[in-house]
Symmetry: C2
Subunit: 601 residues, 2 copies
C-alpha cells in the first residue's frame, strides 16, 4: 500500500498517510474537525474540501449528488469519499470546519502596507551637562524633526529612563508628540479591539510588519447589566454610578485581555503604542464615558458621532504611557463604528455595482452600496441567532448542535466537539428551521405540523432533534415559539434588505454581491438561510462570508493611516435610513416573517 | 475753620476734614496706614505723599531736610507736616504704605489688549431630529468654523446641557477644540497663578476686558515638607508617594484658593476657561508630577524646560471641564518660568540699553539685559529676607517691625498694624542692618561694636531694637548671627550681579535701570540696600520696585496670546549662567559679604 503526504491548509497541518484512508479519516486523526452529519456516508455534503494539488480517487455518485457543477470544476470533493493517489495539498473551506476550529483561522489577513500613525526613531543622545544643562525632554526634541511636544505621561513616567538606557532610545512619535521612550529595537505593537455587545475581540498587531500576532476573544462583562444595549443604556442613563461601573467593567476586561495576549507573545503592555477600537454607538458611548440617556430617546441622537482620539490613560487602558486610543466614527445612534469598520474591510464604497453587506447580530446592520452610494439601516433582529430566547439555545461551544439535516424524516446533526448534544447554536437553529420547512414539518406561516418527532407539551408543540441520545436530561428540541422567534429575526433582516432596495428603486435581482460578516453570519449555512427567506434567493457564488469584519476593520485602521482616513470618509458618505420612518416598513416586515424564498423587491 | 474734601489715591478713599489736621492724621482716621517712624515729628521722612491737586500749607524746614530737590519739584510732601487749604487730591506712593495696605493695591495692571487663547461664540443651534439624527457634538461643530474636535470632558459632562439650555449656548473654543459649553453671555474668566516656594498668589481675570477681578495669596502647603526647594525635591525624588502627596497638596490649595476667589466675585469655577501658572522649576515639576530626582543632582537638568499645555483635570485643577493649564517655559533647573514671567512683565528684552532685573527670594534670580541680550543667574540668597534664620525674624504681618531708623542712638521703628512689636520682617531687617552700619554700630566685616543698646548673651552680642515695649516676652533684637545671615544673603545677590557684569565686560556704572521684583523686593527700602552693598550705588531714580512681577507675567500670558508667544521667545533667547562654573565667583562672593557701598565691577 502506497504512502503519501497530505497537507491541509489553511491550518498548516501535514501528515504521512496510507492511501486506503479517506481524507475525512485522515483529518480526524490530525484533530481537524471537519463537519460530517452523516458520519461519512456521503449524504450530508458537509465535508466539502478543495483539492489544490495532487491526484485523488475518482468522483463517486454521492459526490455528484452533493456538489454543484461549478464546485466540481473547482476541484471540490467530499472528504469522506476521496482517497489520495499522490501527495496532496488540500484546502478546507471555512464552512466545512466546526466552529472552534474556524475561530482559530478566522483572522484572515487583508494585506495592507504598514503605515502606522506612530513613528519610531532610534536615537543616540548627548546627555545634558553643566555647560549645557538642557531639559531631558528638550534633548529628545532637539534630535527629532516633526516632534514639538512631549506627552505629559512620558514626562512623568519615562524621562528618568533616559539615564538608565544610557541615552540610547527608540523615540515613539505620534502627530508631533512624543508618546513613548523605549529601549532601542523594542517591538512596535498595536492593539485593535472589536467591542461587541456580547463579545469582545482583541488583536495585537506588529505595526511594522502589519501582521496579527495574536487574537483573543472574551464575553463582554457588561452582559449582567443587560443582554441588549437598550437595557444597558437605560440603566446607565438613569444613574451616573452605573454608567461609571459599566465603563470600568469593559476597560478592566480589555486590560485583562491585553495582558493575556501580551503574556502569550512575550510582550509587555508598554510596547503597545497605538490602539483602535470599534463598536456600536452604545458600546462606544459606554466605553468613553459619554452621556447615553439621549441615545435611548427619540430621535436617538448620539452625543458624539465623529471619530475621536483620546489618551489611553484617559479611559484607563494600560498600554504605552502616552499612547492614544482611536475610536472609529459612528454613523448614527444605531449604526456604529463597527459598521464603519465592516465597510472599510469590505471596500464596499469602491464596489462598482450593487451590493449588500450585513453584520448579523442582536442588531443587524445592513448597508446597500449602489455604485459608491451607501445607505445603511439597523434592524432589531434580536438574540435568536445567538441562541437567546430559544428553548434549547446556546452559544457556539462544545456540545452545541451547529448543523442539522433531515433526510426522509431522519435527523442528522453535528455537534461542536463531536460529543453528545446539549443544545443548539445559531447556525444549527437556522439549519433546523430551514430543514423543518423544506421537509414540510412547518408551514409557511411557521405552524408546526404533526409529525412522528413533533410532540405536544404544556407549552405547545416541539420538534425533537436529539432525543434520548442528548447529553442532558431534556431532549434538544425546536419549539413552536422558537420557530416564531426565528420568524421575527429573519423577518427583520429581510425587511431591512427589502426597504433598502425599495427606497433605492432596486430589486433583489440587481444585487451582485452579498457580504455577510460577524461570527454567526460566517458560520450560518447560506443554503439554509435562502429557503426560509432570510437572505435573497441568489446563486451561492454571490455570497461571501468574511468573519469578523469589524475586528478586521479595526486592524486595518490600526496598521494604516490611509485606511483610517478612508474610514472617516466612508462614515461621512454613508447615509442612515431610519426604518421606523419608512411608511412601508411595517407592512414589509409583516410579510417577511413568513417562510418563503420569494421576495417582494 | 474751613472744611475740605481730601481724596486719597490709589486707595480711593475720600473724607471731609477740618483744615487744622495734618494729612497724616486725616489718613489715620480713614484707616490708611501711612508709615511714620517718628510719630509725626517730621524726622523720619517715612510719610511722603504727593499732592496731585489743590492748595496746601507751605513747606516746613523739616520737609526741606527730608525731601530731595526733585521730590519737591514733583510736589512731594511729608504728610505729617502738611495741612489742606482747599479740596485735595493726594497720591500715596507704595513705599509710604504699610505692607498689608500695599498688598491690597499691589496688582498694578499693565494694560494689554485682551487677546485670550480661548474664543467664545454665541450659538443658536438646531437640535437633532428623526430625519437628521446627528450627534450632539456634531451639531455644535457644524455651527463653528475653526473648531474640529470636542474635548472628551465636554462630551462627557456638558453635552446633555444642550437640551436644558434649549440649544442656545456660548461655545468656548481653544485651538480648534471645544472646551466648554456655557449658558449664553456667561462671564469668561481666566486664572493666573504664581506658584512660589513659600507663597501662592492667584488672580482671576476677566478675559474679555483684561481686568483683574480679584487676587488672593496663601502659604504654599508644601512648606512642612521642606522650607526650601532642595529639601522638597530630595524627598519627592526618593519616594513617588511623597511626590504625589506634594502634587496633591498644591493642587488642593489651588482649588481652595480658586473656590474662595470665585465665591467673592460670585462666579463659579466652570466659568474659568483658561489658566496660566508660573513658578520656579522645582515648583513646576512638583505641580505637574514630573520626575525631580535629576533636578537635585549635577548637572541639575530639568525633566522638561519648554512650556506645556495640559488639561486642567489632568493635574486635578477644577475649572471648566475641557480647559487647559498653560505653564510658561523654564530657562533652566534653577531659573524657572517665574523668572520668564518677570522678564515678560518688565519687557527687559526690549530695553535699548543695559539693565538688571532681580526677583529676591530664597533663591534670587537676576537677569542682565545688554541691548536685548539676556543672561540670567540664580543665587542662593537664603531665607533671611523672609525672616528665616533670623532670631526675631517673622513674615510681614501684624506686629512685625518693617521700618527702622536710628537717630543719634535713638531707635525709631514702624510696626505693621501700628501695634507693639513682636518681631522683625525682611524690610525691617535690611533697614536695621543698614542703620547699624551707617551709625557705626557694626563694622564693615559685620562685627557688632559695643553700644548702649548692644548686650551680651550666651549666644553672642545683640542689638536691642525694641526692649520693654515689645509685645512679647523677649525684646526684639538683631544678633551678631543675624548680621552674618544678612551678609551671606546680600553677598550672594551682590556677587550674582557682579559676576554678570564681569562676564559681560560691564561695570556698575553702565547700569541704566534696576528693576526689583517680588514681595520683599518691593517693600525693601533701596536707601538701606545701597549702603550695605546689597544693591549697586546708583541714583535712586535708576531703581524700580514693581511688586509681584511673576504673577503679573502670568496674567499677561493669560490675557494675551501675543504675550504668551513673547514669553516663549524670551525664554529661548535668555542664556543661563551657572555661577558655580564661573572661576571668579567664590572670590567675588567672599568680598561681597562685607558691608560697603563700593563695588568691584
Amino acid at each position: 500500500m502506497a504512502s503519501y503526504t497530505v497537507y491541509f491548509e489553511p491550518l498548516g497541518r501535514r501528515e504521512k498517510v496510507d492511501s486506503d484512508q479517506s481524507l475525512l479519516e485522515i483529518a480526524r486523526k490530525l484533530g481537524i474537525n471537519i463537519i460530517s452529519m452523516c458520519d461519512g456516508r456521503g449524504l450530508c455534503g458537509g465535508c466539502k474540501v478543495q483539492v489544490v494539488e495532487g491526484k485523488t480517487s475518482p468522483l463517486t455518485s454521492k459526490e455528484l449528488d452533493n456538489l454543484t457543477q461549478k464546485e466540481i470544476c473547482q476541484n471540490y470533493r467530499l472528504a469522506c469519499q476521496v482517497r489520495p493517489l499522490s501527495n496532496l495539498k488540500i484546502r478546507i473551506p471555512q464552512e466545512s470546519l466546526s466552529t472552534p476550529q474556524r475561530t482559530q483561522v478566522e483572522g484572515l489577513e487583508i494585506p495592507v502596507t504598514p503605515e502606522p500613525v506612530v513613528s519610531s526613531y532610534e536615537l543616540k543622545l548627548d546627555p545634558p551637562s553643566l555647560s549645557e544643562p538642557e531639559g531631558y525632554a528638550e534633548v529628545i526634541l532637539k534630535a527629532l524633526k516633526n516632534c514639538q511636544r512631549v506627552g505629559i505621561e512620558v514626562s512623568r513616567q519615562q524621562l528618568p529612563r533616559l539615564k538608565s538606557l544610557n541615552w540610547n532610545i527608540d523615540a515613539i512619535v505620534r502627530n508631533g508628540e512624543l508618546i513613548s521612550i523605549n529601549p532601542p529595537s523594542t517591538r512596535k505593537l498595536g492593539l485593535a479591539v472589536d467591542l461587541g455587545t456580547t463579545k469582545i475581540a482583541g488583536y495585537i498587531v506588529d505595526l511594522e510588519k502589519g501582521e496579527t500576532l495574536i487574537c483573543k476573544g472574551m464575553m463582554n462583562p457588561q452582559i449582567p447589566y443587560g443582554e441588549d444595549v437598550i437595557t444597558r443604556i437605560s440603566r446607565a442613563g438613569e444613574n451616573k454610578k452605573e454608567a461609571k461601573k459599566l465603563q470600568a467593567l469593559v476597560v478592566k476586561a480589555l486590560n485583562q485581555l491585553t495582558k493575556e495576549m501580551c503574556a502569550e507573545i512575550r510582550a509587555n503592555r508598554e510596547q503597545i503604542l497605538d490602539a483602535v477600537v470599534v463598536g456600536n454607538t452604545a458600546m462606544h458611548h459606554l466605553f468613553l464615558g459619554l452621556p447615553v440617556k439621549q441615545l435611548g430617546l427619540s430621535p436617538y441622537a448620539p452625543a458624539l458621532e465623529s471619530s475621536i482620539d483620546v489618551k489611553a490613560r484617559e479611559v484607563g487602558l494600560k498600554i504605552a504611557p502616552g499612547a492614544y486610543v482611536y475610536f472609529l466614527p459612528n454613523i448614527d445612534g444605531f449604526v456604529g463604528s463597527d459598521h464603519v469598520a465592516m465597510l472599510l474591510t469590505t471596500d464596499l464604497a469602491k464596489f462598482a455595482g450593487i451590493a449588500l453587506a450585513l453584520d448579523i447580530g442582536t442588531n443587524t446592520e445592513i448597508c446597500l452600496a449602489d455604485h459608491g452610494k451607501l445607505t445603511s439601516v439597523s434592524c432589531a433582529s434580536g438574540p435568536a441567532f445567538e441562541g437567546g430566547h430559544i428553548k434549547c439555545g446556546m452559544r457556539a461551544c462544545e456540545g452545541a448542535i451547529e448543523k442539522v439535516r433531515i433526510f426522509n424524516g431522519d435527523v442528522d446533526y453535528h455537534t461542536i466537539g463531536n460529543g453528545k448534544p446539549v443544545g443548539i447554536c445559531g447556525s444549527g437553529i437556522v439549519d433546523a428551521v430551514a430543514q423543518l420547512y423544506l421537509n414540510g414539518i412547518i408551514e409557511g406561516n411557521g405552524r408546526e405540523r404533526d409529525h412522528e418527532r413533533v410532540r405536544e407539551t404544556e407549552n405547545g408543540k416541539e420538534f425533537v432533534i436529539a432525543g434520548e441520545e442528548a447529553g442532558c436530561d431534556q431532549p434538544v428540541t425546536i419549539t413552536q415559539r422558537d420557530v416564531h422567534e426565528v420568524q421575527l429575526a429573519k423577518g427583520a433582516i429581510s425587511a431591512g434588505i427589502q426597504v433598502l432596495l425599495e427606497q433605492n428603486g432596486l430589486s433583489v435581482s440587481d444585487l451582485e454581491k452579498i457580504i455577510i460578516a460577524g461570527a454567526f453570519g460566517s458560520y450560518m449555512d447560506v443554503r439554509s438561510a435562502i429557503p426560509i427567506g432570510m437572505l435573497p434567493p441568489l446563486p451561492l457564488e454571490h455570497f461571501e462570508q468574511i468573519g469578523n469584519a469589524a475586528g478586521m476593520g479595526a486592524k486595518l485602521a490600526l496598521i494604516s493611516k490611509t485606511k483610517r482616513k478612508e474610514a472617516e470618509e466612508v462614515a461621512k458618505k454613508t447615509s442612515y435610513l431610519e426604518l421606523a420612518a419608512v411608511p412601508s416598513f411595517m407592512r414589509i416586515f409583516a410579510h417577511a416573517t413568513c417562510f418563503t424564498s420569494e421576495w417582494k423587491f
